[in-house]
Symmetry: C2
DNA sequence: GTCTATATGCTGATAGAC
DNA sequence: GTCTATCAGCATATAGAC
């Protein structure tokens, strides 16, 4: 039982792949670099995964499953619609910014030639549906574009990884409160 | 005068590079593909640019200079602070979404190993300073985080290229109005 | 300015021993 | 399950003719 098994090496490999994909980008990350990060030889990867593209899809599956769980869990016991949205944003940003390289590897443009691209988009869409539900539950002014609102909020959040830095950046939960409050309360004091 | 000159071929090459960088991503775009797109041989590129990295920096220089000009021009004759912000957002989105592949090639994560990375960040920061100014001119509620507000708005806008599609997506100017109004007027009707 | 030809190294992936 | 060894192809970049 203490010998390497397919299962535990697979997880280790996924972590290594996520790290390399995040650090260098998918195309620039070589199978050799991933193997080294996972402390094995290049050929051994192919026992666990059929191809580099497969590895990218698998990283997305794990990452989006984890962030979906975290965001859903943050909603437990929160009742008011705006508080629920804020809780979900806090969990999303917390996971994205401080949850490890896994998520930063995933919240970016998908390479155009990857086999399994459609699968990756589906996984992402499934996760983002949580926010469609939360925004659907809000009592909004007549004529508010809920779809644009969701994309605006997700865009603001997913762009944070381009500028946020561990020590100097605002705490993810503070950022979530700021973003949601900027939308909730009007910023134009003259109106 | 009708012969190829350094100047006109250079521009053609930059367009070709932007197209390839956008379509395939920087790392996946090969010098061969760029050469083919520009209708020349690979070796000829090196007469105009020293390296692939140089080409990326040059694409950024042209793109950011153009979008800076467009956004600045949109402010002419607009006086009210919120209207100025909206006009700038409309110009930004218009250029980004319908101004050609140049801009979509630029508004994305910068590859980590590119020489001239710092220059690219500087160019981007210089452009984004326009928005720092516009948000600085707004009369906002006490305690509003202007920096977070800028990053939120730029994030929402720069993320649009991941989901916006020419025929089905909302017009850029409509999108700008929606984004700015979502911030300007409070969305929480109970407050 | 653009070409042909090529140097040199790295790529993803496979074969087959252990 | 992991290894060594290797394949075939493509990468950026250069040399030098025209």
């Amino acid at each position: 039982m203490s010998k390497p098994t397919s299962a535990n090496r697979r997880g280790q490999l996924l972590e290594a792949a996520a790290t390399c994909f995040y650090r260098e980008g998918f195309d620039a990350a070589s199978m050799r670099a991933i193997a080294e990060e996972a402390d094995m030889r290049t050929a051994s990867i192919y026992y666990h995964f059929d191809s580099k593209d497969d590895l990218l899809v698998a990283v997305h599956q794990v990452a989006l499953e984890r962030i979906r769980t975290a965001t859903s869990a943050a909603l437990n016991g929160v009742e008011a619609p705006w508080e629920r949205l804020e809780a979900a944003c806090a969990a999303h940003l917390e996971t994205l910014l401080t949850g490890g390289t896994f998520f930063k590897a995933v919240m970016r443009q998908v390479p155009s030639k990857v086999a399994g691209r459609e699968m990756i988009f589906k996984l992402r869409d499934d996760y983002e549906a949580i926010f469609t539900g939360l925004i659907g539950a809000l009592d909004l002014p007549a004529g508010t574009e809920r779809n644009s609102l969701r994309l605006m909020l997700l865009g603001a959040m997913n762009w944070t990884f381009t500028w946020w830095r561990p020590r100097t950046g605002p705490a993810p939960s503070v950022l979530a409160t700021t973003f949601v409050n900027n939308l909730r309360t009007g910023l134009d004091i003259a109106s």
